[in-house]
């Protein structure tokens, strides 16, 4: 028995992969999350209303999703439904996060894999288009910055937002800053599309070079976005079967009826399944569940994607391309929202702190995120965080095993395996800080 151990980089947080190999067979592939802080435990006793400020610190990459999920869980307990304008500003906040995250995953985490570089900041650009005045790194950071600026505009603080509050958001967005932001999003949309086109080409070339987009079998898919167009702030989770048919649709409070959770001895992160079946969350799940994106450019990309890869699409390297479609969608959708009046009514409603149990759902970049709180005497008695990366754990391990089988034979282990491990893990864009909290 040989144990192969792969350290991981260009993902959020601390994790590694261990494969047991015997007689040319991959016996097991483990994805090990190797850090933990213990939020579930140290949140106990916290005044419930402070949660939206504390829980973004679970993860600086996914902070916006935690901020909004927390507010929604408390609203569920206190029985308050925020004004429409507040919901729009929260959507803008989540779109900012989607742009920032998908740009990070596409350009910082996975683009180097396509050209064999160690990072975006160490790419050989001698072959780059001479008409481009800016390097790939500079353009990528500019596109990513649009997401950061949206988070600042709609969320206040730039990493751990503060503007979403129980009952709404602290304030509307005045015309002048909204218009300045609108101009920035419009100006950089063509650059985002261009970068995605380059990324698409690099991905096609990589697919050809390695001879596969992923050999793993089909799986179940889970997402909470709308049926006809993406909806990051929805209240329903949906599950799709490997054949593309919808198998379940349920509110967050019923998640236990559908999802089974287990802990393992080798990782600080647990694993969930859909009634024992391997499922996948994140961009590919959303793309398989969505009929359309509802915005022109993103729809054109989705059509090209479906035409090329079918629907539902299963090979896991397609997660990466789906992130590009969502990047374009988030730009276009932000333009729609920023074109409206965002300062026409009160942005929050009064509420009374009540005891009880509540659930807050958002579609985070990595999939459906649920915060589940129990409040007693105004204090948190229990806080449970149901994390999208945990939904992907079984899928990651299965895909790693399959990738391992491609490169391991009784005679030798192909050195491409290390790169394959990185590609597989990054396709799922796991977040370890969230998965372990």
């Amino acid at each position: 028995m040989t144990i192969l151990r792969f350290p991981l980089s260009r993902i959020e947080g601390h994790a590694r992969v261990e494969m047991e190999v015997q007689d040319g067979q991959v016996v097991t592939a483990q994805f090990q999350a190797i850090e933990m802080r213990g939020f579930r435990y140290f949140m106990q006793g916290t005044p419930a209303e402070q949660m939206p400020v504390i829980v973004p610190r679970i993860c600086g990459v996914c902070s916006t999703a935690h901020h909004v999920a927390s507010v929604k869980a408390l609203e569920d307990i206190f029985g308050v439904n925020p004004p429409e304008l507040a919901k729009e500003i929260r959507e803008l906040l989540l779109l900012g996060q989607l742009i920032q995250n998908q740009a990070t995953s596409l350009f910082i985490f996975t683009m180097p894999d396509r050209v064999g570089a160690s990072s975006l900041f160490h790419m050989d650009e001698s072959e780059a288009d001479p008409h481009q005045q800016l390097s790939l790194a500079q353009r990528s950071l500019k596109v990513r910055q649009v997401g950061t600026n949206l988070i600042i505009l709609a969320g206040g603080q730039f990493i751990h937002p503060v503007k979403a509050i129980v009952g709404g958001v602290t304030s509307g967005i005045k015309r002048e800053p909204a218009e300045a932001m609108l101009r920035e999003v419009e100006t950089l949309l063509p650059m985002a599309c261009e970068l995605f086109d380059e990324y698409w080409e690099m991905s096609m070339a990589m697919g050809e070079r390695i001879g596969t987009w992923g050999d793993d079998q089909p799986a179940y898919y889970i997402a909470s976005t709308g049926r006809t167009r993406p909806q990051l702030n929805s209240d329903v989770i949906r599950v799709l079967g490997p054949d593309g048919a919808e198998r379940a649709s349920f509110p967050p409070r019923l998640f236990r009826n559908y999802l089974d959770y287990e802990e393992t001895a080798y990782s600080y992160a647990g694993q969930t399944s859909y009634q024992g079946q391997v499922m996948r969350a994140n961009s590919l799940a959303r793309m398989n569940l969505a009929l359309s994106m509802g915005t022109p450019l993103a729809d054109a990309y989705l059509e090209k994607f479906t035409h090329t890869f079918g629907k539902p699409a299963h090979p896991i390297l397609l997660f990466d391309l789906c992130r590009g479609i969502e990047l374009v969608y988030a730009f276009e959708r932000s333009i729609e929202i920023l074109s409206k009046d965002l300062d026409y009514e009160d942005t929050s409603l009064p509420y009374t702190v009540k005891d009880g149990e509540g659930y807050g759902l958002v579609e985070a970049p990595r999939g459906p995120l649920i915060h589940h709180y129990t409040v007693k005497n105004g204090l948190i008695e229990d806080a449970e965080f149901i994390i999208p990366t945990v939904h992907n754990m079984l899928a990651i391990e299965r895909a790693l095993k399959v990738a391992g089988e491609r490169y391991v034979s009784p005679e030798a282990i192909n050195l491409e395996l290390e790169k394959a491990v990185g590609r597989v893990v990054r396709a799922f864009d796991p977040c370890i800080a969230c998965a372990t909290q």
Binding site: S9, R37, G60, I159
Partner: protein, 289 residues
């Protein structure tokens, strides 16, 4: 730009934390032309801090034995160590877990195979290595990162958050109680204290550009105390907050004191002043950006 070997070399070591500091650093793109990034697992595939690295930025707290190993190994081979963010400076949000029942839970996790062992509590990095510069903030802004990397000696910011907030303090708008956490919409342009919010920006070090208070959220103190209080005990700082509230409101002192000890503030308020871990003297304000 990349691969330019004449540029100074810097590395980013992430211990147990949320990666928010790293995300903030990526938001600051100016370093791309002035520094060579040689190690930062979030964005670069290299597996250890290389020799002849000049500056090491460390984020996150020391939560497990692998953190201790990585920190000691990396600090030894660099010229300058910068503690970045609340977790590296004091343990940060993970410090809320320094309670018996939480610790019992951590110890129960020790049973897991092959995983880094958790320490009994989250520790600041200077419990293990010498630190040359402290960069507080949760996280520090991109601008602060640039200042720390490029010219920390000459960086100028307001001494307190109020200096960057721009909301007006009024003498005749005196709430009788804190209005709780957040209810209803706040009035723009008027000091949040006048509106009954527990804002501690009046003695928290500036440099953040008041990004929370300007859109209407009270300052929770993530940058820690201003230079005037940084080397003193926390009670001196709390008394100062108290004085400000006495001047601007009619809120009873007990109410303020109790609120100051609630979790969302205590994540940050003790990051310098009550730093007595191992009986060491407080950190010198000259070392804090």
């Amino acid at each position: 730009m990349p691969g330019n070997s004449t540029l100074p070399r810097f590395a980013v070591l992430q211990l147990s934390g949320c990666a928010g500091c790293e995300v903030s650093l990526i938001n600051a793109s100016e370093w791309v032309d002035q520094y060579q990034l040689v190690y930062m697992p979030l964005v670069v595939s290299t597996h250890a801090v290389p020799e002849d690295t000049e500056v090491l930025l460390v984020s996150g707290g020391v939560r497990n034995d692998e953190d201790v190993y990585n920190l000691r190994r990396s600090a030894k081979i660099v010229e300058r160590v910068v503690a970045v963010g609340t977790c590296a400076i004091s343990g940060g949000v993970a410090n809320l877990g320094d309670r018996d029942e939480v610790r019992a839970m951590f110890m129960a996790q020790e049973q897991r195979h092959h995983l880094p062992h958790l320490l009994p509590k989250s520790r600041p990095i200077d419990a293990f290595v010498d630190v040359d510069l402290y960069l507080p903030g949760c996280p520090p802004t991109p601008e602060l990162f640039m200042a720390a990397l490029i010219d920390p000696e000459n960086y100028q910011a307001s001494s307190i958050v109020c200096g960057e907030c721009g909301r007006k303090k009024l003498k005749d708008m005196r709430p009788k109680h804190l209005i709780g956490f957040r209810q209803g919409e706040e009035l723009p342009d008027i000091c949040l204290i006048n509106q009954g919010y527990l804002c501690v920006g009046s003695s928290v070090r500036g440099g953040c550009r008041a990004i929370c208070t300007r859109p209407g959220h009270p300052c929770v103190g993530c940058r820690g105390p201003s230079d005037a209080y940084i080397e003193k005990e926390s009670q001196v700082w709390f008394d100062r907050v108290q004085n400000v509230f006495e001047r601007l409101t009619d809120i009873p002192p007990e109410e303020i004191q109790a609120a100051l000890h609630s979790p969302q503030l205590s994540m940050f308020l003790f990051q310098f002043t009550d730093y007595m871990d191992g009986g060491r003297p407080p950190r010198a304000k000259e070392k804090v950006l």
